[in-house]
Amino acid sequence: MTSFYFTMFILPLLIILTALFLAAKTKEKGK
């Protein structure tokens, strides 16, 4: 049950947060 709620609700959020984090980390200098 826990794994169901994790994959259906937490996993999508984690993926989006990773995208946000990496997008911020890869910002080019001077931009």
Binding site: S3, A23, T26
Partner: protein
């Protein structure tokens, strides 16, 4: 679903009007884009590298999502429950990384060396003097993309038959005509803008339907309890074998090798904006995919046994639930979302195939060195789009078996042959032209052999081993052959923004 087969899903006049409204909008966008796309080959095929970040994000995402997402993933979640999550998680994460890293290098390089197509990139990167590598890759792309377009038209014909009770052949012709009209008129800009509009239609339907069907069943708690009583593995996303799980995640390995997805990266105005695309594209991918998963899961509660579905076809769960739970106008939009998925993929594939014919085969090989006006090239490109639509239609009508066979290998075959090779071309200075030939051949062959060897196929989805073997072949052959002389300069072009432009080969 067999062509021409009538299902229980049929349309109300309100649904037909909603759907027609959608078609009118799509064609209007094509008309709007006509003037811009007529300026030159770069405008026609990659929007003159002036595309807005939001358009690129959505176009890249929906070009990669065919009716497989709306009909296939919903059906998969209906059948295998929460395990279907692994089929979407893989491609979403891989496409996020492509936007953030791969795309930026490809976009910078393509501006510096004036690359309009994926074969252009390979030709410039590996100093393809005799054009053999360009022709080899172009032919692979043209064959697979045309078959892919054909399969999308077939899907459109079936969806028309199922949604509106129309003849399959009429539906096929209508789908092909609409895609052809706006692609011929508006080229990349029309394709990008219609993709964006279609991304909204898909997102709207994939959010609305699961919310409505879950609420109608008393909320998520009720759905989960009923799923557990039907089959406890439905709510256990870890009940798959390791091989099956990796195979599902491995679907995402197709993304870096499918040129209709990566050509989008070359069109963005500012490469640094690909970071924004990564965020928007990932959010869109996640919401659409999880919407599809929830539709399949809720569908299983409404129809606990597959025999309750029309024709026992799990891929009908999406339109069926929509027809039963939504107002006819909203049902019309759901049908439009299936066409959105089909057309947003077909148009991008059509443009890639046409670019292979005109840019790679005609301009760069047949008329190598000759000066051809941009107006003429755009005209030829429009003729090529028309000719490819005719080819795809003929294939879809008379050689369905060939199309079926080619499409089986299209995603995995292109992914395994062009994916690892393009990644190594972008990241390894040691990669050579001979290595690319080897990687493309090994990737394609492994895909076919693995698929046709039952005991291998039972272990894992063919794309995963084919991708690894292709990478290995590219690496090993590159180790014993010579990389291009100007490899440092070529790599500099990927690492920083171009201030001058070079045209090679």
């Amino acid at each position: 679903m067999e062509p021409g087969m009538q299902t229980h899903v049929s349309a109300d006049p309100a649904a037909v009007y909603a759907f027609l409204g959608y078609l009118v909008l799509v064609i209007s966008i094509g008309l709007y884009a006509t003037r811009f796309s007529s300026a030159g080959l770069s405008e026609f095929f990659i929007g003159g590298r002036k595309m807005n970040r939001f358009v690129v994000a959505l176009s890249a995402v929906v070009s990669g999502r065919s009716a497989w997402l709306l009909l296939g993933v919903t059906g998969m979640a209906y059948k295998m429950g929460a395990n279907a999550v692994w089929a979407v998680a893989g491609y979403i994460v891989i496409e996020m990384f492509l936007f953030l890293f791969f795309a930026k290098r490809l976009r910078r390089f393509s501006e510096r060396y004036d690359c309009v197509t994926v074969p252009d990139f390979f030709a410039a990167r590996f100093e393809d003097h005799n054009g053999l590598l360009r022709v080899f890759i172009s032919v692979v792309i043209i064959i697979f993309m045309t078959s892919y377009v054909s399969a999308q038209f077939v899907g459109g014909g079936k969806a028309f038959a199922a949604g509106f009770g129309m003849q399959y052949a009429t539906g096929l012709l209508i789908t092909a005509t609409i895609v052809m009209l706006y692609t011929i008129m508006g080229g990349f800009l029309a394709v990008g803008l219609t993709d964006m509009f279609q991304a909204f239609v898909m997102l709207f339907s994939l959010v609305l339907l699961p919310v409505v069907v879950i609420i109608d069943k008393g909320g998520l708690g009720g759905i989960v309890t009923e799923l557990r009583s039907i089959d406890p593995t439905m709510i256990d996303p870890l009940s798959l074998s390791v091989g099956a799980g990796i195979g599902l995640l491995g679907i995402g390995l197709g993304s870096p090798g499918n040129p209709h997805i990566i050509a989008r990266y070359m069109s963005i105005k500012d490469p640094d904006q690909l970071r924004y695309c990564a965020v928007v594209g990932t959010i869109w991918n996640v919401v659409m995919a999880w919407g599809a998963l929830f539709i399949g899961l809720a569908g299983r509660v409404y129809f606990p046994d597959v025999s309750l579905l029309p024709g026992g076809d799990t891929e009908k769960i999406y339109p069926l639930l929509a027809q039963q739970h939504l107002h006819p106008v909203l049902f019309g939009i759901v049908i439009a979302s299936i066409f959105s998925a089909i057309m947003s993929t077909a148009d991008s594939q059509l443009l890639v195939a046409a670019s292979g014919v005109v840019r790679d085969i005609y301009e760069k090989v047949i008329k190598k060195g000759a000066s051809i006006s941009q107006k003429k090239l755009v005209l030829y490109s429009r003729v090529a789009v028309f000719a490819l639509v005719v080819c795809a239609l003929v294939l879809g009508m008379v050689a369905k078996q060939v199309v079926f066979w080619l499409v089986l290998f299209a995603w995995a075959g292109l992914g395994a042959s062009l994916g690892p090779t393009s990644i190594l071309a972008l990241y390894s200075k040691r990669t050579t032209r001979a290595g690319i030939f080897a990687g493309v051949a090994v990737g394609a062959l492994t895909t076919v052999i693995w698929r046709y060897t039952p005991f291998l196929k039972a272990i894992i989805y063919e794309l995963v081993p084919a991708f690894l073997f292709s990478a290995l072949a590219t690496y090993l052959v590159s180790m014993v052959t010579r990389p291009p002389d100007a490899v440092d300069e070529l790599f500099q072009a990927m690492e920083k923004q171009a201030d001058t432009h070079k045209t090679l080969y």
